[in-house]
Symmetry: C2
């Protein structure tokens, strides 16, 4: 998200606390009332639905993402939030967000835009789960994550660090972890990409994207320019 100098300053002043979180830690639980939102500064976090022990990830967050900005309006979340790796987060009280909203309408537009991107990513995940087979799902996820991390300055387009393990991929792609292993082996043998727990290496980004029917348009990222915090193309309105 591209912020003007003043916006950034005001936004940073609104942060009530910066916290370090340990890996694999539950952070928020569905149904809890919330009075602040979380900005992810470093590390990876996830949002997931857990019903009767059936766990499905609905989002993976990379540095620069607001993890639960939607809680500002919804007040209560319909899902849980957890860290995947160790993480640094900034807490922003909803009361401060309300003040910011009134004083900096352009910033509000940018924040709203980011919740809409979040929804667009949900839709891409729906396509992935509904219409792609196992190999294609993984290829799609890795391609998507690669683009998002490039935009955050955390991937060079071929290699990036990711704190995910095979059971995570299973919960993301609606598969079992045993099957994830077989799919990863296949991607390795096809020389498309190598997934080693904490490091992903994409050998052929274009073929991988093809295999996953991936087109980054829905991320609304201006691939020409990136900035440190994360760089969803800014709304022109």
């Amino acid at each position: 998200m591209h912020l003007e100098v003043e916006e950034r300053a005001r936004f940073e002043a609104a942060i009530s606390e910066v916290k370090t979180l340990s890996p694999r830690q539950n952070v928020l639980t569905a149904g809890e009332p919330l009075d602040h939102s979380i900005l992810l500064i470093e590390g990876f976090m996830s949002r997931y639905i857990d019903r009767n022990g059936l766990r499905q990830l609905v989002a993976v967050h990379v540095p620069g993402d607001f993890v639960d900005l939607h809680a500002f309006s919804l007040e209560v979340l319909d899902h849980d939030v957890a860290t995947m790796t160790a993480a640094t987060v900034a807490l922003v009280p909803h009361s401060e967000l309300e003040i910011l909203a009134q004083e900096l309408p352009k910033l509000t537009l940018k924040l709203r835009f980011s919740t809409l991107i979040d929804a667009a990513i949900h839709r891409a995940w729906l396509f992935r789960l509904g219409r792609l087979n196992a190999v294609e799902r993984i290829a799609h996820f890795i391609s998507e994550t690669n683009v998002r991390l490039m935009s955050a300055g955390l991937s060079d387009g071929r290699r990036f660090a990711l704190g995910l393990i095979q059971p995570d991929l299973a919960e993301i792609c609606g598969l079992t972890n045993v099957h994830i292993y077989r799919v990863l082996r296949q991607l390795r043998e096809q020389k498309l990409c190598v997934f080693r727990s904490s490091l992903v290496e994409i050998l052929d980004p274009e073929k991988l994207a093809d295999q996953g029917h991936f087109d980054p348009a829905y991320l609304y990222i201006d691939l020409q320019s990136t900035d440190a915090l994360s760089s969803h193309q800014r709304p022109t309105k």
Copy 2:
């Protein structure tokens, strides 16, 4: 969505055109720039992703829903929009929405709230596709639709009209239409529900919801009160 008298009047004044659409008609195409949003007044509409001929529905809209309010900020959609049945829609120019946003901040909050519900429904669909089997997916979808239609005053909790055919269910649930038939037969034989193209009859709503691991919390509907337009619980902020 609950609107105050003034809000409703101003909102209705913002409508530039009311249109009747024929069934099974494409209305918007991904990538097209948009300068207005669509409010569905009567009938059913869908949003779907089509990549290389693979079609996946990402949303079904019922009367009272804004179909593409997110286009107001995104400007371009990442998916297509179509009618499922004959439909009546109201067009609201984005320029008018912008004026409304400035003059009626509370209305803006309500509109934003409705886009967040939209995202919450996406997440429930992710759970459905990622973690439920065929019978459970259909049970979940029918239970969800029942609650949404009750809230719109279009279901009594046991019967409702729906313009969907079996291939639609297939594209919603990530299954093939042949398999949809077998699942529907099973639901019929289990005396849970009967789906007859244009009429859905739920014989045991509670068991059906159980079967689909369905909990309506994510719809943020106040099930005590309903109103004609649609009645997402209004944000208190």
